[in-house]
Structure formats: structure tokens, C-alpha cells
């Protein structure tokens, strides 16, 4: 009997060591979040020691690498939102239509073909999409309208739309398929056509999922780096025309990193300052997605 107890104790000790290790791993994920916040804010504090917050948020010029220097973040934010918003304008209708096709119209067999194609599209690295924008989309756009510059916001928006399309389509597809069959039946039993059932019953019932897929796609588009850096160029400006080059926050970060800027310079520090802005935008957008899910779920269930 005593022997058994000791054996059990040994198991217990081994287990305690292991559990402690796993526990450390699990809690280290909180450390990452803390690390991001601490690093971004402490490093950018050096930046804000030299550049006033009012200049940063108020000025409409961003020329950190050229004299006279200006550090107004608005053009970068504007460029970011412009291409991400443009991408949504293209991708949301397409993505929802694809989701409707996959969940409502496609046969089991064609679903088996199209779903992996979407997954394939989602698995292509961002730098490949950048290549696609430069070598295919931009030439086509310039053929259609010669006024379009080599680097332009439109090409970036289109390629971003292609990139977030699988995300919107697959989350919306899940949301649509989660609508119970009984709800569709009730529509058909009242003599509605398929399109009427889809548009006035299924899509409203799946709306929380569809909207949150769009918000997540927006967040993904804002944080996307390589494709927009290649396609949209590096001209931070407030322009309404998508034919011209702009610069996004992410593209600026890449530009500074590639320029081999020495530690301690204002350019190096500006990287963290715009990083804070990007981080705050992303957090705000992601939180709004969660809010939408919560609010709509309460309404429908």
C-alpha cells in the first residue's frame, strides 16, 4: 500500500513540473500582448518627445525623409483606409454572392471543387499578390485608362479585394449554412421563389456573420503589407483619385525598414509612432466586429 502511494507521488511530481511548463507557455501569450503595447508606446515616446502630437495628428503632410520634414500621419491613414475601403467595395458584393452560390445553389460536387479553390486563393502569400498587381492588374488598368500611374491606389485596392475575397466568402458561407433549413422551408411554403427566400430570409438571418466577415476583411486589408507596398507606391498624399500613387501605413514601415535607418534617428522612431496608429486602428476594427456579432446574435436568437 505504501509503495503505491510513493509511485503515485512520483507521477504527481512529474506532472507538476510539466504542468508548470505548459502554464508558463500559456501565460506567455499574455506577455506578447503586453510586449506589443509596452514596446510600441515606449519607443514612440521618443518620437513624441521631438514631434508634437498636434503636428502628428493635425498636419496633412508626411515627408519624414525629405527636407522640410513634416510628420502629419493623416495622409498615411487616409491612404490605408482608401485602399482597404476600395477593396471592400469590390470584395463584399462578390464574396457574399459567392457564399450564396456555394451554400444555396451549388451541388455537393461543385461545392467540393470550389471550396478548395477558395482555400488555395487564401493560401497564396501576399508577396505573390504584389507580383500579380504589378505585372497583371496595373498593366490592364493602364491599358484601359492611360492616365493611371504605374503605382496607383486602384490596383492596390483590386488586389486586396482578391486577397480578402476568400475570407468574406468562407465566413459568410458558414453563416448562411448555419441558418436552419426550417426557416427556408417556411419561406418556400408561402410560395416564395429561391431568390426571395435567400434575399429576405436567409441573408438577414445570417447578417451578423456576414457583417463580421466584412469587418474582419477590412482589418485584414488594413494590416496587409507586401501587396500594397508593391502596387500603391510610396507617395503619401490626400488625393481623391485612385489613379494616383498613395502610401499606406504598412508601406511606410517597409520603406523605412529597407532604407537601413540607424537606431535612434527620428525616422527609426517614426516607425513605432505609425505602428501605434496601425495597432489602434486594428484593435478598434476587430473590437467592432466582436460587438456586431454580440448585438445581432442577441436580436436573432
Amino acid at each position: 500500500m505504501k509503495q503505491k502511494f510513493t509511485k503515485k507521488n512520483k507521477v504527481k511530481i512529474d506532472e507538476t513540473v510539466l504542468t508548470t511548463l505548459l502554464k508558463t507557455f500559456a501565460y506567455s501569450t499574455i506577455g506578447i500582448t503586453v510586449g506589443i503595447v509596452v514596446i510600441l508606446f515606449s519607443e514612440s515616446s521618443h518620437f513624441f518627445a521631438e514631434i508634437s502630437l498636434s503636428e502628428f495628428l493635425g498636419s496633412t503632410k508626411w515627408t519624414p525623409l525629405l527636407e522640410p520634414r513634416h510628420f502629419g500621419v493623416i495622409p498615411l491613414v487616409y491612404g490605408t483606409v482608401l485602399v482597404a475601403g476600395g477593396a471592400l467595395v469590390i470584395a463584399v458584393p462578390l464574396g457574399v454572392l459567392i457564399a450564396v452560390y456555394l451554400s444555396e445553389y451549388a451541388s455537393v460536387r461543385s461545392r467540393k471543387i470550389f471550396k478548395p479553390i477558395l482555400e488555395l486563393l487564401a493560401g497564396i502569400p501576399s508577396v505573390v499578390f504584389g507580383f500579380f498587381a504589378i505585372t497583371t492588374i496595373t498593366p490592364i488598368l493602364r491599358y484601359l485608362d492611360p492616365e493611371i500611374q504605374i503605382f496607383n491606389a486602384l490596383s492596390a485596392a483590386i488586389v486586396l479585394a482578391v486577397m480578402v475575397l476568400p475570407l468574406i466568402a468562407s465566413i459568410s458561407d458558414d453563416a448562411i449554412r448555419a441558418v436552419p433549413k426550417s426557416m427556408r422551408d417556411s419561406g418556400y411554403a408561402l410560395g416564395a421563389t429561391k431568390s426571395e427566400v435567400v434575399l429576405s430570409i436567409v441573408i438577414p438571418a445570417a447578417l451578423s456573420g456576414i457583417i463580421s466577415s466584412c469587418i474582419l476583411a477590412f482589418s485584414r486589408a488594413i494590416g496587409e503589407t507586401m501587396a500594397v507596398t508593391l502596387a500603391a507606391g510610396a507617395t503619401p498624399q490626400l488625393t481623391l483619385s485612385m489613379k494616383e500613387s498613395i502610401q499606406t501605413i504598412t508601406a511606410y514601415i517597409v520603406q523605412v525598414s529597407m532604407g537601413d535607418t540607424p537606431h535612434g534617428t527620428i525616422e527609426y522612431q517614426s516607425l513605432f509612432a505609425v505602428g501605434v496608429v496601425l495597432f489602434l486602428i486594428i484593435v478598434a476594427v476587430n473590437m467592432s466586429a466582436q460587438l456586431v456579432v454580440k448585438r445581432f446574435q442577441r436580436k436573432y436568437v
Binding site: F25, P125, S195, G223, M226, L230, I253, S257
Partner: protein, 315 residues
Amino acid sequence: MNTSNLVLIRKNQTDISDVVRAAYDELTIGKKNNLKRRKLFNTLFRCLCALAVVLAVSVLVVLLSSVFIDGWQWLDWQFLTDFPSRHVEKSGIKSGIFGSVMIIVITMITAIPIGVGSAIYIQELMRESWLKSFVKTNISNLSGIPSIIYGILGLAVFVRILGFDRSILAGALALSLVILPIIIIATSEALAAIPNSIRNAALALGATKWQMVRDHILPNAWAEILTGVILATSRAFGETAPLLIVGALSYAAFVPEGIFDYFTTLPIQIFNWTGRPQAEFHQLAAAGIIVLMAILLVTNSLAIFLRNQFKRKII
């Protein structure tokens, strides 16, 4: 029931013949309602949906074929075994491939144990509490943060504070931050798919939580965990932004010899070539993309194969 009710029924009968006629009319002539227009709309809507799918598929086809047409002529042994060069015809991706492989190996060594271990702890060992839901929420938030932010974090922490400089180690650690949330989420889902009945059975036989995990949960979940890990790794393989921020070289004509060496990777070489104005370099980029996509295709097919092979044998 009295006679007046019977009279009422008789009276109703005369109405019925009108009803019969009206219903019959509606079925036969009955296009007086708007059905024709609605049917047309129905058909158009269906076509619209199909059109969207066709558009998405054709974009993919155009993308793949343009890459292939541009790149296949450069794809030979010499392309794989040469260093990059100013001269297009002498350029290759040797340094990129070595850099990518070394980065990925270190990324896997760090991210997989921490990721899988965290998921096991959170999903199986942790008691339900506000802390657990906080940790879970935190991880799902981390997965929504763009990779470039992890690049910035890596630049500050690994390159400057820990003094790893712009090395393979710094790049790999930044990359493991990117895929850590992905691995944790995939592993958690694999674990959550194991039915509770198995847990109850093991615990009721006197097993400790860890014995339950080791002997019953992991043997049933490993294939799905592995699938998630492979998909995360291939995501890391194509990742470019965080490595650029951490300071990967866009031009490197050497093979890194240790984890503290400077490095470049295949996606960064592709980025560099794509960014140049000359068409020949675009073709080199396309050839690099073919290699990159071939590697990703192999790893992803492996993941899909595993998923199908071992899919839910127990449930």
C-alpha cells in the same frame, strides 16, 4: 348542433363552387400575379451568383498562368543553385532557399512546443474561470494583429534589446510570434473536437489530467494538430513583412552559416525582384514564385492528406 348550422353548411356549399372556379383559374390562367417577373429575377440572381464564382476562379487562373508563363523559362537547376546577381541570366535563389529553410526550422522549434503546449494547458488542464476566458480572448485578438506589428516588436526586442542584430534568430523569433496564435487556435480546435465522454471515461478510471491528455486526448487529436501546425508553417514560409522589418537583406550572395548570420529569404528575393522596373527581373520573380508555390503546394497537400486520412476515427 342544430338545424341552423346545417343551413349554414349548405349555404357555404354554393360559395365553394366559386372558390373552386377561382382557384382553378389561378392555376391555369393564373399569371395575373407577378410571378413571371419574379421568376425572371430569380434566374438573373442565380446567374449573378454563378458569375461571381466564375470571376473568382478566373482571377486565380489568370494569376497562376501569368506567373507560369513569365517564370518557367528561367526555371532550371542553375536558378536553384546560383546566388542572386545583377546579371539576370546568372541569378538564382540559393541564398533565399537556405535562408528560408533555416528560418523555418528555428521558427518551428520555438513555435510548435509553445503553441501546442499552451493549447493543451488552456483547453485541457485549465479550470473554467475568468482567467481562462481572458487568455482565450487574448489569443484570438493576437491572431487578428497583422504580421507587420510582430515585425516591429521583433525589431525592438530581438534585434535591439536582446542584441541578436539582424540575424536568422531574430527573424525566426519574430516569425514564431506571427504563427503562435494560429497554432494555438488550430490545436485548441483539434482538442475541442474530442468528445467529453472520453475525458470522463479516463478520469473515472483514476487517471490524472495529464495521463488523460497523454494517453487518450493526444493519440486521438494528433493528426488534426499536425495538420494545423503544417498549415501554420506554410503560412510562415510565405510571410515577408516581419522579416523585412527585422532587417533581412534584400540582396545576399552567401549561405548563412549560423543562427546569428545575416540572411535573406525566398519571398524577400521575390519582393526585391518584383520591385525592380525591368521586365527580366519580373520573370526571375515569377520563377521564384513557382518554386515558392511548389513548396507550399507540397506542404498543404500533406496537411490535407493527413486531415482526410485520420479524420475523426473515434467519433
